[in-house]
Symmetry: C2
Subunit: 276 residues, 2 copies
């Protein structure tokens, strides 16, 4: 691919820029292998800052020889129209969707800047911090009280993806996830670690391809028995056998992103809650 | 607020639903205090599943006596048009924005389902996992090698928000953040902990209102000297004095969300990188 095909995409926001970037990435992934140079400009809260953006967009267009794409979540009409002085393709989420929503809801929107990630004092926010602290405090050691407090208990062999998944569940969904590793002792007895059997409805298993597990463990402890392919194969085989015999729902994390694993668990646990 | 004013909003996706929910929350926060019942339906990958959604949307509309709002990121035209059989206000992210992007870029989009959060094997993904592991392994103890590897080193008194911020930086941005608490010993000497002075360009401070700190610490250790307002006041005062005298950039985390703190740090560190 030569340099001429690289186009610049700007994510411009009056807040953190996280919404603009998340939505922008979703759109860009629909254009497969096209390469983009990505520039994030958060906290554009004044006309002056918007003017600076216009300069930067113009410069990028000249350098690339291609019109930049500008993905924005600006809500202030003055800032937004200042930005439009630049020659670019504009994708503005609020401008596009607010009008039909206002009509449907029968009220005007507040046009408040940077609202979506600024709920620092809401109950939601405290729940998230609570869940993060829970996840950090219960990454591996579990008292009966912990097990009762947990919304979900992740089980699986060491390095199967429990820790990043539990952190993501806490950060994104405010869900309290506890981790419980399945270890050789459990396989010898072919029984779940103590206390888990009575909380079966909260259990969710993660498994992983032995080759991938070997790769991850090798990074941590090269040339160890722990990381050997033979040991990884045995542990994964036994863990899957145990989860199957105990009737635990599980998924294979090998080719899934943290987001996909977390969203799947939320879905399963919710279904469960409807049932129980 | 009486029940009649509660309207149901559906987030429907063929993937994790995270993009649809992010977009939806951003839009809904623009309608201030209006209450919505929120229903997330991820992994709608078949026409059959879309039909189930139609049933659920209809039921919600009848119950509420108000037309539901359906926010979707469906890319498959057949699934999308099935969904449209329901009587609702549709906000379809891809349908709206893909066409202008296709025209600008001069190529057709791939219409691939669930792409945006499924890059499980990309370099980006490994970087994120790396950063998460770094953050977990270096939440409080730091060797000189750790300090060299870190992209940013967060300093501040205990419970000022370093841990959730570093985890969010890792998960969202793949940034390696190390935490270094400022403790009474540092205040006695009025000097940064050892090793930090030579990495000043990587340092970022967090401070917090003493009243809020007292509240957070009290949850952990009620009636302790550690959590007392007097001690919190003293620690915060000394920490701010130390950061000021050492010329460290810092922000007040009291009324900011994790996202805002993280985005601000990224912005500052990036500026720094351009400079150094």
């Amino acid at each position: 691919m030569n340099d001429q095909t690289v186009r610049t995409v700007f994510f411009i926001s009056d807040g953190t820029g996280i919404t603009a970037e998340t939505l922008g990435h979703s759109l860009l992934t629909q254009f497969g292998d096209l390469k983009f140079r990505q520039v994030r400009i958060p906290f554009v809260t004044t006309v002056k800052k918007a003017m600076d953006c216009v300069t930067e967009i113009r410069r990028a267009g000249e350098q690339d020889g291609l019109r930049p794409i500008v993905i924005t979540t600006l809500v202030n009409p003055e800032i937004s129209s200042t930005l439009r002085q630049a020659d670019a393709l504009f994708v503005n989420f609020f401008e596009t969707f607010i009008a039909p929503l206002e009509q449907e809801l029968g009220i005007k929107s507040t046009h408040t800047i940077g609202r979506s990630h600024s709920a620092a004092n809401s109950q939601d926010y405290f729940n998230r911090i609570d869940a993060i602290n829970f996840s950090l405090a219960h990454d591996d050691g579990l008292s009966p009280e912990d097990l009762d407090m947990a919304d979900v208990i992740l089980v699986g062999v060491s390095r199967s993806g429990k820790t990043p998944t539990s952190l993501y569940l806490a950060l994104q969904f405010g869900v309290k996830a506890a981790n419980c590793p399945l270890i050789p002792d459990d396989f010898d007895r072919m029984r779940l670690p103590e206390g888990l059997d009575r909380r079966r409805h909260k259990l969710f298993g993660l498994t992983i391809a032995p080759e991938r597990l070997q790769q991850i463990r090798t990074e941590r402890r090269p040339n160890s028995r722990y990381a050997s392919l033979e040991n990884c194969r045995r542990e994964v085989l036994m863990a899957e056998k145990l989860m199957r015999s105990e009737g635990i729902r599980w998924l294979d994390s090998t080719t899934k992103s943290i987001e996909e694993i977390a969203a799947t668990i939320i879905e399963e646990i919710r279904l469960d809650r409807h049932v129980y």
